[in-house]
């Protein structure tokens, strides 16, 4: 039923930069709204591509050209699972230093030490436990707004999330009780202990993100472009060989040219085979791609059709 689409149609879209201008305008509007309406906002920054785009948008929203020594009106916040790719953490720290921003790092290890996170096994994916550490950081720093790079095209439960999404004092999302969002008249009112999640790039797709990275020449960790990496094939995914994901004795390790489409916890993020060396190559690949971003790369999202919704209700970003 899925007739092949002619290559020229895919590779020569007439979509010009104008739609990126509109998306940028909307994102910057939401960033300023969040900074203005809340007392203590923070921008979630992991070094992943979506958060790099949001950070870039924030630079454009709050800093005038020629006066880049100004700081953003909010700090950056990263929940470090302890299982992040080392090159992403290095990238994160380098960008923060270059821009002169303040970074708050909340360590999942600290939650384990406190006992608020208990792993079922040492090798268990820590992705699902991030929400505990995140909420601990919210309490400690009294954040009332968290800005994130989630997009509605990522997953079906996200498609229903508001741009400014209310969280109760347990950090929980109540999908059946969302506030109607009318025009840009955001309902920013909170009670003590509650907070808001703000998603400036809600209306962007994976392709929009890459077109924007290309247009704005946004720096990303090298993992997003082609590099050789040892991987093991498992259930149609390429599982990277790392210190926390060693190969089993019966598994064959291959060295392949790969890139990551999403970068998260090492235990659940997989690369795809690719020779894309820069953003333009990735744009071309994205136009031809046939597997969704999370389907190709996230082991945790494959467990259940509803896994994202459950985690979001628990306070996951």
């Amino acid at each position: 039923m899925n007739a092949p689409t002619p290559l020229d149609r895919l590779l020569a879209p007439d979509l010009d930069d104008a739609h990126l201008e509109a998306l940028e305008e909307e994102a910057i509007f939401i960033l300023r709204e969040t900074a203005a309406a809340f007392e203590r906002a923070a921008l979630l920054f992991s070094g992943g591509k979506d958060s790099c785009v949001v950070l870039h948008l924030a630079q454009k929203a709050f800093k005038l050209e020629g006066s880049r020594k100004t700081r953003l009106p909010f700090p950056l916040l990263h929940v470090d699972t302890g299982h992040n790719f080392p090159e992403v953490i290095e990238f994160r720290d380098r960008i923060v230093e270059e821009l002169g921003e303040k970074l708050v790092v909340a360590h999942l290890e600290d939650s384990i030490a406190r006992g608020s996170v208990r792993l079922a096994s040492a090798g268990e994916s820590r992705n699902g436990h991030q929400s505990v550490t995140l909420m601990e950081a919210v309490d400690e720093h009294r954040f009332d707004a968290l800005i994130g790079g989630a997009r509605r095209d990522e997953e079906k439960a996200r498609a229903k999330e508001r741009i400014l999404s209310h969280r109760d004092s347990f950090g929980q999302w109540q999908p059946k009780n969302q506030r109607p969002e009318l025009w840009t008249l955001f309902n920013t009112r909170l009670k003590p202990g509650e907070h808001m999640r703000a998603f400036p790039i809600s209306n962007w797709t994976e392709l929009d993100v890459w077109l924007y990275i290309q247009r704005e020449r946004i720096a990303l960790p090298g993992l997003y472009y082609t590099h050789r990496r040892d991987v093991v094939r498992k259930k149609g995914l390429l599982v990277p060989v790392t210190a926390v994901t060693p190969p089993a004795p019966d598994e064959t390790v291959e060295s392949l040219p790969v890139r990551f489409r999403t970068v998260g916890d090492m235990t659940c993020t997989c690369p795809v085979e690719s020779l894309a060396a820069d953003a333009a190559d990735v744009v071309a690949e994205t136009l031809l791609v046939t597997i969704s971003e999370r389907g190709a790369t996230r082991m945790d999202d494959r467990t259940s059709d509803a896994s994202m919704e459950r985690r979001k209700k628990e306070g996951y970003f």
């Binding site: 020569a12 454009k60 929203a61 800093k63 100004t70 506030r179 008249l185 020449r217 190709a296 059709d305």
Partner: protein
């Protein structure tokens, strides 16, 4: 992370914004199938998502396109959509954002949410549900969807007459349904942007031209691709609600005044323009203008601008900047109220109102009437319940620079928030500012 520098100092309104449209239809009208079809034809459905559908359909069965759009667990359990979902696809011509509003009556608030800010509405009409005799009567639900879209000033209303593949004489049936839609729209005072006979199931006239219904016009997708996005109020006296006041933007040398950021609601602002601050009434001239950190000479409606004024004035979020003399403040107005809260609207109770970027207290002084949304006729009423729409008189604690919603969707709209629960309770569309009290 460098800035992309741009050469053009004057920024025109964004030329090709993504087209945001809402889809409205009753349960079983085939709305989810239509959206699935648009996503599939727009290449937004990828192989793993199709696999999931094929797995659910079982061997040999055709996949159910409607399953692409039910996002929440409760929706899959109940087989209905509960909340507005946003979907994305692009053609060569345009990027599209679908705001998918559930059709059943108790979720009218979702339809209002989807309609607010949409450029177009696609109203689904299920041909198999109509008595296709000589004079076709549209369903109350269809009238309600179209009238709500019109009430919220969605610029373009398109009708998609679905399931024509399942009626005996599609050409005669479409001609009759079409005549009923034309008559209804004329009575309601709007011109449909298109009436397209489709089969969402088989794809006729969605993106693939077909003679179904004896039709030779553009497909639904071709029609949407060509709709103008002329919704920005580029003419008129400049008006801008102050959204964010930036810290001193020191370039290193000497003192620089603050930057006032806000999206131009109406008209345009240029360097050198005089602007009046509302409510203080003070005036100043624009000495510098910015868009996203870049210095520009002029900014038009629909874009956020950063302004530096030649005088240090006391301006904060919630204030307005306007062409001098253009603002007529009022504390009392007549408005359409769409009520979205399960607790009814109460006369005299103090609510939070948001107008532009200002929060203030206000109350409903009187309920003039409740609208029968299938006819837009007014009936006497003393309260408004959830999903009801009425005409009300509102009084505010502070004077506001109001405009008619029909003329200005920024200065003409207010949000109503319950002061006790913080729930978003309603939307006010200003019909007329009233002087005195």
């Amino acid at each position: 992370m460098g800035f992309a520098l741009r050469d053009d100092a004057d920024l025109a309104p964004i030329a090709r914004r993504p087209l945001r449209f809402l889809t409205a239809g009753s349960v079983d009208d085939g709305k989810s199938t239509l959206i699935g079809r648009l996503l599939l034809d727009g290449r937004a459905i990828l192989a793993d998502q199709l696999d999931a559908l094929e797995a659910r359909a079982g061997g040999g069965e055709p996949i159910d396109l409607a399953l692409l759009t039910d996002g929440l667990e409760a929706e899959r359990e109940q087989g209905i959509t509960i909340d507005v979902a946003y979907r994305y696809f692009a053609t060569r011509e345009r990027k599209f954002i679908i705001a998918d509003a559930p059709g059943h009556e108790q979720y009218t608030r979702n339809m209002v949410t989807a309609a607010a800010g949409s450029d177009a509405a696609v109203v689904l009409v299920d041909a198999t549900k109509l008595d296709l005799g000589a004079t076709v009567q549209l369903l109350a639900q269809t009238r309600r969807h179209a009238l709500l879209a019109q009430l919220l000033r969605v610029p373009h209303i398109v009708f998609a007459v679905n399931k024509l593949d399942a009626v005996a004489d599609a050409t005669a049936a479409f001609a009759r349904v079409r005549a009923a839609i034309v008559a209804f729209a004329a009575e309601a005072g709007f011109a449909p942007a298109g009436i397209v006979p489709i089969s969402a199931l088989h794809g006729d006239n969605v993106s693939r031209p077909s003679t179904l219904g004896g039709y030779d016009g553009p497909t639904l997708l071709a029609l949407l691709e060509r709709l103008p996005d002329d919704d920005v109020a580029t003419s008129g006296a400049a008006l801008l609600p102050v959204q964010y006041v930036g810290a001193d933007a020191g370039s290193g040398a000497g003192h620089r005044p603050r930057v006032l950021w806000g999206r131009v609601a109406r008209g345009e602002v240029s360097v050198g323009d005089a602007l009046e601050v509302f409510p203080s009434g003070e005036t100043a001239n624009v000495t510098e203008l910015y868009v996203a950190g870049t210095s520009v000479g002029r900014v038009g409606a629909g874009r956020s601008a950063g302004l530096v004024l030649d005088r240090q004035l006391d301006v904060s979020r919630g204030d307005w900047l306007a062409a001098p003399g253009s603002v007529v403040p009022s504390t009392r107005f007549r408005a359409t109220l769409a009520w979205l809260d399960s607790e009814p609207a109460v006369i005299g109770r103090r609510y939070w109102l948001r107008h532009g970027n200002r929060w203030l207290h206000g109350r409903i002084a009187a309920i003039v009437s409740r609208l029968d949304i299938a006819t837009l006729a007014g009936h006497e009423a003393h309260e408004l319940g959830v999903n009801e729409i009425g005409e009300v008189i509102v009084e505010t604690q502070q004077a506001l620079p109001l405009a008619r919603f029909a003329d200005d969707r920024v200065a003409g709209a207010l949000l109503v928030v319950d002061a006790a629960t913080n729930r978003t309770s309603g939307a006010l569309l200003v019909r007329e500012a009233l002087q005195g009290s």
